[in-house]
């Protein structure tokens, strides 16, 4: 069940906080670390004790009165949800050919998602997940608690990637759920066929959200090590182009650079920072760098 958690990565990053930036007035109040300080400040409600809840949270006075276990639930300091949006289109199936045993982008994304959500869960935040492909959108609504996180992992294990990224209009209702007080991580390769991904991001970031873009790239894309006559096939459209790879390298690298520039420009307009992760590099380092950079940006 926890196959998406790499012990080494976890050991490295588990104590780093996931910090949401204030993107709107009064909307996010600094760090969401309520859970680590014990109970919340403002009392919200009692609920019945369930196995797994820490004993420290049991209201013993109430137990003395009613002879039943109740847990005090506090109003969250910052009522935000962490959404992990996973691009489940076919292009995420890309594996680095030069490193045949390495993960595909999708596999890497699942590990990344599992680890990030663990951190979120540990902070006491509500973590939810949305896996998007044109064929199906799998929504796992945000909630807190370790059990919820385990269910999320189960859900994550069942995910499959395929088809293209969905059109934003088709998932309008889903997007609306994301627009409310949330920190949205978009894990994708940021390849789109028309403009569907940009539209999605535009709409998501239009709400009360902070969007974090995590772009996955691989060595093959960055270095273009191919030579000779190669038939390149698009994972999503199936379109094939036959080129002499040796001469196409320069064109490819230029085109990739241009694509990245456009992406960065677009995201900057949406006030979104882009973090690019090479899936052929160790994940612990990438995640560590990502979290540290967010911490710095916060200060």
């Amino acid at each position: 069940m926890e196959r998406f958690i790499d012990p080494r990565t976890l050991a490295r990053v588990k104590d780093l906080p996931l910090i949401a930036k204030t993107v709107a007035d009064g909307f996010l109040h600094g760090l969401q670390q309520s859970h680590q300080r014990g109970v919340g400040i403002e009392f919200s409600q009692y609920r019945q004790y369930e196995p797994g809840d820490p004993l420290s949270r049991i209201d013993w006075k109430l137990f003395a009165r009613s002879d039943r276990y109740f847990v005090r639930e506090a109003e969250r300091e910052s009522e935000i949800s962490m959404w992990f949006v996973l691009d489940a289109s076919a292009s995420m199936n890309l594996t680095s050919e030069s490193q045949p045993d390495s993960w595909s982008k999708f596999e890497y994304a699942r590990h990344l998602l599992a680890t990030l959500s663990y951190i979120g869960q540990k902070q006491g935040d509500h973590v939810g997940m949305l896996a998007l492909s044109s064929e199906r959108q799998q929504l796992f609504p945000p909630a807190s608690g370790e059990r919820h996180w385990h269910r999320l992992l189960q859900q994550l294990a069942r995910l499959e990637s395929g088809h293209t990224f969905p059109d934003a209009r088709a998932i309008k209702a889903t997007i609306e759920r994301l627009q409310k007080n949330s920190l949205v991580f978009i894990i994708s390769d940021f390849y789109q066929i028309s403009n569907e991904l940009h539209e999605f991001i535009t709409q998501v970031s239009a709400g009360h959200t902070e969007v974090v873009a995590l772009q996955l790239q691989c060595d093959d894309e960055l270095q273009f090590p191919y030579k000779g006559a190669i038939r390149f096939e698009d994972l999503e459209t199936g379109e094939q182009v036959l080129v002499s790879a040796g001469t196409a390298r320069e064109t490819w690298l230029k085109a990739l650079e241009k694509h990245q520039q456009q992406l960065r420009r677009f995201l900057r307009r949406q006030r979104i920072t882009l973090t690019t992760i090479n899936i052929n590099q160790p994940m612990d380092q990438a995640l560590y760098d990502f979290l540290i950079s967010r911490q710095k940006a916060q200060r």
Partner: protein, 434 residues
């Protein structure tokens, strides 16, 4: 042009079956470029697209190169050759330089009138004009320049396929023909001139008599073989008789050479009957000595062992020609008037010596029997007879391949060239795939 090509060993053409190998490689290896899946095709779209033909071109080129290599290898094995030079139907005359010098100018004019092409028998000869022919005549003759024309003629005839008749003009000196004469691929009309006076040739011995005891018939046969060899190669006019030593007539005693193989030496009466210049060769009488073999060096006989007769000591007035290391005379010469007597103190018999069985025996015999002057004649001015020249008749020609020139070196060069190109192209392709 291709139709004229032929192969030395058609079996080699079976190697053409190997052509299937590159074809199979091509069929199994055919692909239109390696397939690589990428996330976003737009990024590669601007790159120049390769047409399928461009990819295939390299593969087809490789196939062609490999087919070429195997074809060339098969042709090398089969020994591809193109036809030799083909002359027209005109008649051709080959002239030896010695002939040009030996004949009067009128003969040369006549020669030029009769033949459309005249070539001098010397390496790399081209058809000659009258002026050039006359120029060659002016070159002063040297005794050593009489060239063996036979290999030149054989080369020329195997290189050029003559449409018309071939005439060869030469002098009848044996030196022009050499001792080894391979069959000529083309029938040749011989025209032999006799440059020296007839008197000179008469100084060579004409008749020989081999007189032998009946029990030494085997030994006499060695002499018969040696004499026939000398007739063929040195003294064309030589004749000989084989007689029982009992029945020898006075006339036979007076032949040029008398070879006497008998248990009894020639008697004084018999020697008196000889009144013409005669060379007599006789070997030892009596029984073979008990002693072992003795080592003697004879001309042409670097290693020979002889049993020397004990009776030889008596001939003290004779001149010793060959002695053993301990001073025993092996060969002695005596002269009685015009008669030379050569005594061989061993015998021309395998039990005594191996002289007669050795290949050089005719040469040794000539050396012993001829005087120095005669030897000069025999070696330098020996004559040939037309009948001794083998005519290339139809039967002989069938075994001789038609004139053709091998293309091996050209084929090998092309083979190496194709191979290097194939390796280069193939390695390049391999490198690109990785």
């Amino acid at each position: 042009m291709l139709s004229g090509l032929s192969v030395f060993s058609p079996v080699g053409l079976w190697a053409l079956i190997a052509l299937a190998i590159p074809v199979l490689i091509h069929l199994f290896n055919r692909s239109r470029g390696r397939l690589v899946r990428i996330g976003h095709i737009d990024l590669i779209r601007q790159a120049r697209r390769l047409r399928v033909t461009e990819v295939k071109l390299a593969q087809w080129l490789l196939l062609l190169l490999r087919l070429g290599i195997f074809t060339l290898a098969a042709l090398v094995l089969a020994g591809l050759a193109r036809p030799g030079l083909q002359s027209s139907e005109s008649t051709t005359a080959y002239v030896s330089p010695a002939w040009l010098r030996a004949v009067p100018p009128a003969k040369v004019d006549e020669l030029l009138g009769r033949h459309e092409r005249v070539l001098v028998l010397q390496p790399e000869s081209a058809p000659l004009s009258k002026d050039l022919l006359n120029e060659i005549r002016q070159i002063p003759p040297q005794t050593s320049t009489i060239r063996n024309i036979w290999p030149l003629l054989a080369d020329r005839l195997s290189l050029e396929h003559h449409g018309g008749a071939v005439d060869v003009y030469a002098v009848d000196l044996l030196a022009q023909f050499g001792s080894s004469r391979p069959a000529l691929p083309t029938a040749v009309n011989w025209n032999l001139a006799q440059p020296l006076s007839a008197a000179d040739s008469q100084q060579l011995p004409g008749s020989a008599v081999v007189a032998f005891d009946m029990e030494r018939k085997q030994d006499a046969e060695f002499f018969r073989a040696a004499l026939s060899s000398l007739k063929a190669h040195r003294i064309p006019d030589l004749t000989w008789e084989m007689v029982d030593s009992q029945d020898i007539t006075p006339q036979q005693l007076n032949s040029d050479w008398l070879i006497h193989l008998s248990a009894n030496a020639l008697t004084a009466e018999q020697l008196d009957l000889i009144n013409t210049p005669t060379t007599v060769l006789m070997d030892a009488t009596g029984e073979p000595p008990k002693g072992g073999l003795q080592y003697v060096t004879l001309p042409f006989y670097p290693f020979s062992n002889f049993r020397i007769s004990g009776q030889s000591q008596g001939q003290n007035d004779a001149q010793d020609i060959v002695k053993t290391t301990d001073g025993t005379a092996v060969l002695q010469e005596q002269t009685f008037g015009s008669t030379r007597i050569l005594r061989f103190n061993s015998r021309f018999n395998p039990q005594w010596s191996s002289v007669t069985q050795q290949a050089e025996f005719p040469e040794l015999l000539l050396h012993l029997m001829l005087s120095d002057k005669q030897q000069n004649l025999a070696f330098n001015d020996a004559r040939i007879r037309l009948s001794q020249l083998r005519q290339a008749d139809a039967d002989q020609v069938t075994d001789i391949p038609l004139p053709r020139r091998s293309l091996q070196s050209l084929l090998m060069f092309l083979l190496v060239l194709l191979w290097v190109t194939e390796r280069w192209l193939s390695e390049r392709k391999q490198h690109e795939v990785r």
